[in-house]
């Protein structure tokens, strides 16, 4: 983990609901898929965001405006600086040669580009299912570093691609293909449904969780994945369905 100054290169609205923030940093960074950063939008808030892409001295994020912090991030300008702790978490680094299915709901697409790059590099096969309510929530693959990736789209209103949820589409795809890992990332309700309903016969089922990350360094304890004795910022954010099932059931959001 390093604390780095990052300079905004591009902050833009990429769809009806999603924003992209791209920064340049002075030193080369490394990060594994699903690792994240704590971004201090100066004087406002420090918020955790998944590393969406990372290429030498460029790092990008995909985010949704939820409150003050994300709003502040969306309103910074090219050249503005933020401070970030990066990389944080343990990430998820599947062995080479494996087949992976990523099931992303909404802004859950954020970690996808870094996972795609990782898979290209180590030689994993990646299929991404991205589900949103309606096609206006999608962004162009090139704007989020997803060119040339096997990306299947599901919209709840059927305005583009498969009509239905990401989970529906993923289950259909999984019927035909064999995957070593299926990773779901998105709203908690989706993760819960995924862990409950997705057929687990041949694959390992994983979810990328969100809890309240306040320090990102394993000190404050606020990210504890109750009732597990695990810290999201150290041991996560990716956990197997089997270990977090109770966590998902306990929390009611």
């Amino acid at each position: 983990m390093k604390l780095v100054e990052a300079e905004a290169l591009r902050i833009e609205k990429a769809s009806k609901t999603l924003w992209v923030a791209e920064f340049s940093v002075a030193e080369k960074l490394r990060g594994l898929p699903f690792e994240f950063a704590m971004i201090w939008v100066k004087g406002v808030d420090e918020i955790p965001l998944s590393i969406a892409w990372l290429d030498k001295q460029i790092v990008g994020f995909i985010f949704k405006i939820r409150g003050e912090g994300t709003r502040a991030l969306s309103s910074i300008k090219r050249g503005d600086r933020v401070l970030m702790k990066i990389p944080l978490g343990k990430g998820f680094a599947p062995p080479s040669g494996t087949k992976i299915l990523l099931v992303a709901g909404g802004v859950g697409i954020a970690p996808a580009p870094l996972l795609a790059k990782y898979c290209r590099e180590v030689g994993c096969t990646l299929t991404i299912v991205w589900g949103v309510k309606s096609s206006d929530e999608l962004c162009s693959p090139s704007s989020i570093w997803l060119d040339g990736v096997d990306l299947e789209v599901a919209t709840e209103d059927g305005s583009q691609g498969f009509r239905g949820t990401a989970l529906d589409l993923a289950m259909r795809i999984a019927r035909d293909g064999v995957f070593d890992y299926v990773v779901a990332v998105g709203p908690r309700a989706m993760l819960r449904a995924f862990c409950r309903e997705f057929p687990r016969d041949k694959c390992e089922k994983l979810v990328a969780l969100e809890t309240m990350v306040k320090c990102g360094m394993g000190m404050c304890g606020s990210c504890i994945v109750k009732p597990l004795p695990k810290l999201l910022c150290i041991d996560g954010p990716v956990f197997s369905c089997s270990e977090v099932m109770r966590h998902l059931e306990l929390s009611n959001s």
Binding site: M1, L3, E5, M38, W40, K42, G43, D45, E46, I47, R81, L83, K85, K90, K214, C215, M217, G218, M219, C220, G221, S222, I224, V225, K226, P227, L228, P229, K230, L231, I234, D235
Partner: protein, 306 residues
């Protein structure tokens, strides 16, 4: 030669070795107790618990610094007195000694949580008289030896379990230590973080939402060693050394200064806890052998020998 004895008796507690966590590294939720139990600590110190729940400050609350230390202003976030029972139960289940750290803005607050701790079966309490950045909850108390006396006396008066008093750096820390002992403290934890500040030079803004925070980690170690040495010199009490301990050498230094046990805070961050605890213990064993000592106890305060 047989392996040196790591067991230490401190504040009437018998610990399998001298290392515990410093208060504030996790320790506010029962699940934290499980996490910490897996680190190999001899005892666990809870997050400082206040009578009422406290939200704590908004992020950023902890930042790494260029000088290798950390600055934090968590703001004593905790779930209040009611969480003590859960913490104690979990520790009992795991069979690990638990020290409940207590914070408050009055004697009454301390007594209140201390009684709850005793009721719930905590092995000891640690009175945090030294948080340097939460107004009304800390260092102002430790600064004044007579206030220290009163608070400690009040708590000792109602408890049978050992009372440990945690002091921070202050002009009269030796005097405050004396008063705490006079009032019946069984041991002293020295020291807390040191009030400090960091500013982001690009935005000209304080790094922490709270503006001020406590400096911890390697930067404060030589100051902690000094305070332990001065207090030990004066009273030879049971001391739990704390401040910047990262390696076995840091632990050895503070033991030589007079500490019987040590608390590790910042160095447990970033998932390194198990590794750090193990490293310190292994190093201490090697070092005690090198010095021809049979136990940690024999090394306590050795730097005072002329």
């Amino acid at each position: 030669m047989s392996s040196p004895i790591l067991r230490v008796d401190v504040a009437s507690l018998i610990l399998t070795h001298p290392i515990m966590n410093a208060s504030g590294i996790l320790g506010s939720e029962p699940e934290h107790i499980d996490v910490m139990a897996s680190w190999g600590l001899a005892a666990i110190v809870s997050k400082t618990i206040t009578p009422e729940p406290r939200e704590g400050n908004a992020p950023p609350i902890i930042m790494p610094l260029r000088n290798g230390g950390f600055i934090n202003a968590v703001g004593l976030a905790n779930r209040g007195k009611k969480s003590v029972k859960e913490l104690c139960n979990r520790a009992k289940k795991l069979g690990i000694p638990l020290i409940i750290s207590i914070g408050g803005s009055s004697s009454k607050d301390f007594v209140d949580v201390a009684e709850e701790a005793e009721r719930c079966g905590a092995n000891a309490v640690e009175l945090n008289l030294s948080c340097p950045h939460t107004p009304g909850y800390g260092i102002e108390i430790g600064f004044d030896p007579s206030t220290v006396f009163r608070v400690v006396k009040d708590v000792v008066g109602v408890l049978t379990i050992p009372v440990i008093v945690k002091l921070g750096l202050s002009d009269r820390v030796v005097e405050s230590a004396g008063k705490a002992l006079e009032a019946g403290a069984k041991a002293l934890t020295l020291i807390n973080t040191i009030r400090a500040m960091a500013i982001d030079v690009h935005s000209a803004r304080p790094l922490l939402s709270n503006i001020f925070g406590g400096l911890s980690g390697p930067p404060i170690h030589p100051i902690a060693v000094r305070v332990v040495y001065e207090v030990y010199k004066e009273y030879q009490p049971d001391i739990i050394g704390c401040g910047g301990i990262t390696t076995w050498e840091d632990a050895a230094e503070i033991i030589l200064a007079g500490a019987k046990a040590v608390q590790i805070g910042s160095a447990l961050a970033l998932g390194r806890a198990r590794f750090v605890v193990q490293g310190v213990l292994r190093g201490l064993v090697r070092w005690l052998k090198e010095l021809g000592l049979r136990s940690v106890a024999e090394a306590v305060g050795l730097a005072h020998r002329r």
